[in-house]
């Protein structure tokens, strides 16, 4: 069985547990194993890397080292975690001195990172399971959605290897759940949460997300689908603060959970700040209609 070390990240486990739950369900259904490790916070580039980059590297490397003896690559459900771990991996891989520095620190707690395992974003696993997802789909959700890639999955492309200007993966993936990715203005811009801006400069952060939300609203979408717990939190919490839009926010695994016929409550949709009730009602009607 294909197996990964599950790196849930702080938000998916401590703020939006629905994401953790949805991930476990979806991956179990797909027959992909997830193993838990004693991880800490990734730690985030905004606060940690900007305050003390060396500390950020060491803590990131500690996380990476956890599953190395089992040879499992850590899988993230948050582009922030992915960005951190991937950048740490990339920096260490290309700089033996830095690797030495990091391991001097890890040595103090009898840990070591050799660079053998590397982080992987969950969508990069899902893209190999398109057929299986289509098979498992019980409900054609039929939603018009705004997909949000999140910056750190795509960029910097010199590190991620992604097509940062014209990505298509999410359009394809939401299609598997019977949804349509609707284009909207500035579809790829940042949600405004990263870099410590959400906590450090909340006004700026809210302005950025406000513009983004209104662009989504103009496109008449039923939901926002993201692949990053941090963006998820920004979309959900800021709508509560701004009160100008009310678009339900779904992590991609929650979307697949719904398509696989899991009850919304089991995916903790009711705990989102932006109500998903209309969305759920739409799905219920759909199910009735279908049966």
């Amino acid at each position: 069985m294909e197996e990964y070390a599950f790196f849930p990240g702080c938000i998916a486990k401590n703020v939006y547990p629905g994401i953790e739950k949805a991930t476990r369900i979806v991956f179990e259904k797909l027959g992909i194993g997830l193993r838990d490790y004693e991880y800490s916070c990734c730690p985030p580039p905004g606060v940690l890397a900007c305050y003390d980059k060396p500390s950020w590297l060491v803590m990131g490397a500690r996380n990476l080292s956890q599953s190395e003896k089992d040879g499992l690559n850590p899988m993230t459900v948050c582009s922030g975690c992915y960005g951190t771990l991937h950048n740490v991996w990339y920096a260490l891989k290309n700089d033996p001195d830095l690797m030495g520095f990091v391991n001097d620190h890890l040595g103090r707690i009898d840990a070591e990172y050799k660079g053998k395992v590397h982080p992987i974003h969950f969508v990069d696993i899902l893209k190999n399971y398109k057929e299986k997802i289509a098979e498992l789909k019980e409900i054609d959700l039929g939603l018009n959605v705004a997909v949000h890639y999140g910056c750190h999955y795509l960029k910097p492309s010199s590190v991620t290897g992604e097509n940062s200007e014209r990505p298509t993966l999410l359009d394809e993936l939401v299609g598997l759940a019977g949804c349509k990715a609707v284009p909207f203005k500035d579809g790829l811009t940042c949600c405004g949460a990263g870099g410590g801006v959400m906590s450090g400069e909340p006004d700026v952060s809210l302005k950025i997300i406000n513009t983004k939300l209104n662009n989504m609203k103009d496109a008449n979408v039923d939901a926002i689908v993201n692949i990053c717990s941090f963006c998820h939190m920004q979309f959900d919490q800021s709508q509560k603060k701004l009160k100008t839009t009310e678009i339900p926010v779904l992590h991609l695994n929650q979307l697949f959970g719904l398509a696989f016929g899991i009850r919304p409550k089991h995916l903790a949709l009711h705990t989102h700040l932006v109500s998903t009730r209309d969305l759920e009602k739409k799905l219920k009607d759909l199910k009735k209609g279908g049966e």
């Binding site: 606060v47 103090r108 940042c190």
Partner: protein, 161 residues
């Protein structure tokens, strides 16, 4: 000791900048505030007090500017390095409490966003363990983790030492 502005410019390819402004034009944050990515590079090259500018902290590290730069200037990487230098020299951003809170939480629980009793309840309801499996699950591991942090600058900068 971190890098000097000059070293940051060299490592980030900052001397290649042609001040074309494609970075600022790409910046989602600059549209909403006074951040001018191009100007930061200019200030750094002219030996001005770039680390004292508050705009330095308006960047969301979205990497769009770095992606678009025709001269392969590592703008975002440089902003992160400049922030490190700013912190080192004592120029914290305006809301300097927040990072300290996050760093403390990180030290105490291993999580930047700790688990609240409410969320713990939700976890149980949706069929997850009340508390997630992580560095704080095992007291021994948490101690080790804290030992690791004790030897790192971040605890000093976060006011824990």
């Amino acid at each position: 000791m971190g890098k000097s502005v000059k070293e940051i410019l060299i490592d980030g390819n900052g001397y290649a900048c042609i001040q074309c402004g494609r970075c600022t034009g790409s910046c989602p944050s600059g549209r909403e505030c006074s951040l001018r990515t191009r100007k930061l590079i200019h200030m750094a090259r002219m030996g001005m007090d770039v680390i004292k500018t508050e705009e330095l902290w308006d960047c969301t590290t979205c990497f769009t500017c770095q992606e678009r730069c025709p001269k392969e200037v590592k703008t975002t990487d440089m902003i992160i390095e400049l922030r490190n230098l700013a912190v080192e020299e004592g120029y914290f951003p305006t809301m300097s409490d927040v990072p300290k809170i996050i760093i403390k939480s990180l030290y105490d629980t291993g999580a930047g966003q700790p688990l609240s009793p409410e969320v713990s309840k939700i976890r149980a309801i949706i069929g997850l363990k009340k508390e997630a499996y992580d560095v704080s699950t095992n007291a021994e591991t948490l101690k080790k983790f804290q030992r690791l942090l004790d030897g790192l600058e971040i605890t000093k900068k976060g006011g824990l030492r």
